[in-house]
């Protein structure tokens, strides 16, 4: 019998042990993978709960767990356990002192020595006492506790609150995991409903005010939707999540509209500024108009236009004004309008000729062509949707044109009531543009309010999910504050004058220069928050409320500076708004108790912090020769020489130095 045949019983035992080892490896890995899968699933459920993941995420969970199990099985089966390793396990467990491992190793030798043969027989003789169960005992998978914890976490999170959206037809998982929706009204707590309603009501009121003032068709739509949402919340027909989603949509549309309007307004201001550059300052009113347009102060420009309608003006002054108004109107016209005007005058000229029967056939063709072009241009102009600001500019240009032409018509006429009316209308249009400028800023603040309302709805939604009511008071207060702020926005213009007066009084008391502005409203604290223009820490200034009112007496948060009122004056005497990044948080750094550095670390540390400019290797070799010379010269006891040499040997440079 060859050695290989002899050791077959050993291989049988090894196979049995290996099977157990693989089974254990599979179990271990499956448990580990399942634990990881459950952790991922728990994260997914948490994502669904927080709204970061859609409710469809439920469908992914069975797939995650299934894939984890399959991967665990494949991973476990993929491990390779060699015969020697398995034999080692048997030898160690049965105290065989590597007999089986040696035997299977010697069995492969072609010419075994007597010792090898004896070793193989020795192993065979021991084999009956080998117990595979001892060699590879069945143990509880190592990560079973992790799996149990992960399963517990998953189950509690899944059972905490059912999925928010019950979508029918999403498969049996959704059907089984998602209970039917509950009564929406029941989800809203009284405080939260009041809070949300208050915030949206404030928004609605503000939007309505803006819409009434400025004929804003887009804001009318937004207003209608906001009203509808408010009514639904009051009637309990919607829940905070739906409210949040709808507010998000409104906010997006509002943003788009506001940005477009704001951009156009900036373009118009630039256009007015460029147009003003071409004007001559022949009269005082013209000079004022030019300066105002140059500075982008549309309100002042409107005032200057009003002054042009002064009946005390001389005929010469009126003539100059007429020219400049024409110039201004022409400069404001866009290319298409100019083209259309040219076409109209050409058509008028040709039509007059036609009436006189003096139109040649060529001119008739030309007239038809011009009419066609004009129609085309008008069609294009109608098709191009214009923003509110553009419409206002168009009206302004038109009224300026009319004012110029009427002034020409009424030259020498003392009864210039019509001319005054056109100028007044032009001034009114300019004032509207100025209002639009203010409105742009108001709209931006409304944008923030809308975002705050959305956040409030989101918080309400999350709070209800978690079932916690601890934040109720805080968020309610925040909501009330939002509502009050929104209300204050409405009153800001009215109250600006009062605040300015108070501020001027304060500045006068403090010895600073009086504030030049038209209504940056800052409510008062009980004591001044600023001295000599330096903003005080911890004092909050709210927007446009009366000094000493209930909001104004609230203690402010740290670092919250003042905000500008409705006036676009940047020279705010209370200083720039403090950025949020100014907030500081103290961090406590805990030390760690250790034994301290070892001797060698101390020695190396000192060396490492030195300022040596020469490498240790170089220095060492220089000194090594000196040491040898000294040892020869000095009378060192023979027994000590060895230690001296050894000392210098061990402090010698390492190979890597």
């Amino acid at each position: 019998m060859t050695p290989i045949q002899t050791v077959r019983p050993i291989y049988r035992v090894i196979r049995r042990v290996r099977l157990r080892m693989v089974a254990m490896a599979v179990a271990n890995r499956v448990v580990l993978m399942l634990a990881l899968g459950l952790i991922t699933s728990t994260a997914t459920v948490a994502g669904i709960r927080s709204g970061l993941v859609s409710a469809n995420g439920w469908q992914a969970i069975p797939w995650i767990l299934g894939a984890a199990s399959v991967f665990g099985v494949i991973w476990g089966l993929s491990i390779r356990i060699s015969d020697l390793i398995a034999a080692k396990w048997i030898d160690d467990a049965n105290l065989f002192a590597d007999r089986l491992g040696n035997a299977i190793s010697f069995a492969t030798v072609t010419a075994p020595t007597p010792f090898m043969v004896a070793a193989i027989h020795d192993a065979i003789n021991r084999l009956p006492t080998a117990n595979p169960a001892v060699a590879a005992p069945w143990k509880r998978p190592r990560h079973l506790w992790t799996l149990a914890l992960a399963a517990g976490a998953f189950a509690s999170l899944a059972a905490l609150r059912p999925p928010l959206e019950h979508r029918e037809g999403n498969g049996f998982f959704t059907a089984t995991l998602s209970p039917p929706p509950k009564e929406l009204k029941a989800k809203l707590l009284p405080g939260e409903e009041q809070e949300l309603t208050q915030t949206i009501e404030a928004l609605r009121a503000q939007l309505e005010d803006q819409t009434n003032q400025h004929d804003l068709s887009e804001t009318q739509k937004l207003l209608a939707e906001l009203k509808e949402l408010l009514e639904e919340i009051r009637a309990g027909k919607t829940n905070p999540e739906d409210a949040m989603l709808r507010l998000e949509d409104l906010e997006r549309r509002f943003d788009k509209w506001t940005n477009e309007e704001g951009q156009k307004l900036d373009e118009i201001k630039e256009k007015l500024r460029l147009a003003a550059e071409k004007m001559k300052e022949d009269t005082k009113a013209l000079e004022q108009l030019k300066n105002a347009l140059d500075q982008g102060d549309l309100k002042a420009a409107a005032e200057a236009l009003k002054k042009m309608a002064d009946p005390k003006l001389t005929q010469r002054e009126k003539e100059r004004q007429k020219k400049e108004l024409e110039r201004l109107a022409n400069a404001l016209k866009d290319e298409k309008t100019r083209q259309m005007e040219q076409l109209k005058s050409e058509i008028d000229r040709l039509q007059k000729k036609e009436e006189q029967n003096r139109l040649s056939s060529r001119e008739q063709d030309r007239l038809a062509k011009k009419k066609k072009e004009l129609a085309q241009l008008q069609k294009e102009k109608e098709q191009n949707a214009k923003t509110n600001a553009e419409k206002q500019l168009e009206r302004l240009t038109k009224t300026l044109d009319q004012a110029a032409s009427e002034q020409q018509r009424n030259q020498g006429d003392e009864q210039n009531g019509e001319e005054q009316s056109a100028i007044d209308r032009a001034a009114e249009e300019m004032r509207r543009l100025s209002d639009a400028e203010q409105q742009k800023q108001t709209m931006r603040r409304m944008q923030r309010k809308m975002g705050a309302a959305k956040d409030l709805a989101k918080r309400s939604s999350m709070k209800q999910r978690g079932g916690t009511q601890g934040e109720n008071g805080a968020s309610q207060n925040g909501g009330q504050q939002l509502g009050q702020d929104a209300q204050q926005e409405q009153d800001s213009d009215r109250l600006g004058q009062t605040k300015r007066r108070r501020l001027e009084e304060f500045m006068a008391r403090s010895g600073s220069k009086p504030f030049k502005g038209n209504g940056g409203g800052h409510n008062g604290e009980k004591k001044p928050a600023m001295m000599d223009g330096i903003p005080g820490n911890g004092a909050k200034t709210a927007m446009g409320s009366d000094p000493g009112d209930s909001q104004g007496q609230q203690a402010g948060g740290q670092g919250e500076g003042s905000q500008a009122g409705s006036e676009p004056d940047h020279r705010d005497p209370l200083g720039e708004t403090t950025g949020l990044d100014s907030k500081r948080q103290d961090t406590f750094v805990a030390g760690q108790k250790t034994k301290g550095p070892s001797r060698s670390e101390t020695i190396f540390g000192a060396a490492g912090e030195g300022f040596a400019g020469t490498s240790y290797k170089t220095v060492y070799h220089d000194y090594e020769s000196v040491i040898e010379e000294d040892m020869l010269r000095e009378q060192i006891p023979a027994g000590h020489r060895r230690y001296i040499e050894r000392y210098f040997d061990i402090i010698g440079p390492q190979r890597d130095q």
Binding site: D98, N102, A118, D122, A638
Partner: protein, 331 residues
Amino acid sequence: MGTVQQQVEEFKRDYTLIQNEVRKVIVGQQDVLDGVMAGMLGGGHCLLEGVPGLGKTKMVHALAESLDLSFSRIQFTPDLMPSDIIGTNMIVEDQQGRKHFEFQPGPVFGNILLADEINRATPKTQSALLEAMQEGHVTVAKRQHQIDRPFFVLATQNPLEMEGTYPLPEAQLDRFLFKLRVPFPTRAELHAIVTRTTHGGEATIQPVVGKARIFAMIALAAECEAAPHIVDTAIQIIEATHPEHQTAPPISKKYIRFGASPRGGQAIIRTAKVLALRAGRYAIADQDVYDVVKPALRHRIILNFEGEAENIDRDLILDEIVDVIRKKKRI
């Protein structure tokens, strides 16, 4: 000569006989005795390190007596000359009255040589002994003189005294198969020592194994098998003592300057074979290797400055290396 099984059984029996005989006069020190016998039957020399009075000389003396081998002892001193150890040519007169030089062998010509306090002699004298240990002969006046086999040197050194000592350089330490540390006896052992040595009338040791049998035991130990995967364990350990080697554990990288030489691997396998035969096995096991790592390698690794400064025990490093290798082999 019988079968391998019989030879191994005889080896076990004789080994036990020798040990039992030595145990008549030596209390405790089982590991040291096993180490000395493993070194001796592995065909090498041993260095015993321990404070005075622990019975080092007594153990060696008892071993020599039980083996029925000639025993010499040299007390090393700074003024000891090489000729005092290896012998010298002397003028002698023959029967006819003619005078001629005749080699007078020194104490090195014995089967078991106890080099007591070897670090007290000068390096020159140490070198003379070490040449004899390595080559198995001495050269005097251009003539080689073979030392009788078996030849075992059991050197002792005192770790406490520094004054007037010449510690063996690492290169010469490498020639010792084993470096054994003689520990202080336990309370029970101390009790037995005191009682036994103060009773009056010391036990006499009888020779139980002859020279021929010793030769046979050494030869059998050399024949014992070492499977490739077990030899690989020894090699992995040697590699792990080299800080620059990729398998070296962090402790090696931190404290070792130079690792063990290939002689260390040879020492491990040779002595592990003795342990296997002593246990009645025909091939060595991993555990045999682990058991001999410390005596075989502790004098073959050189610590770096950090290791010396921290006064790191070499055994600590070797223990950690063995742990690392043991875990690696189980996976």
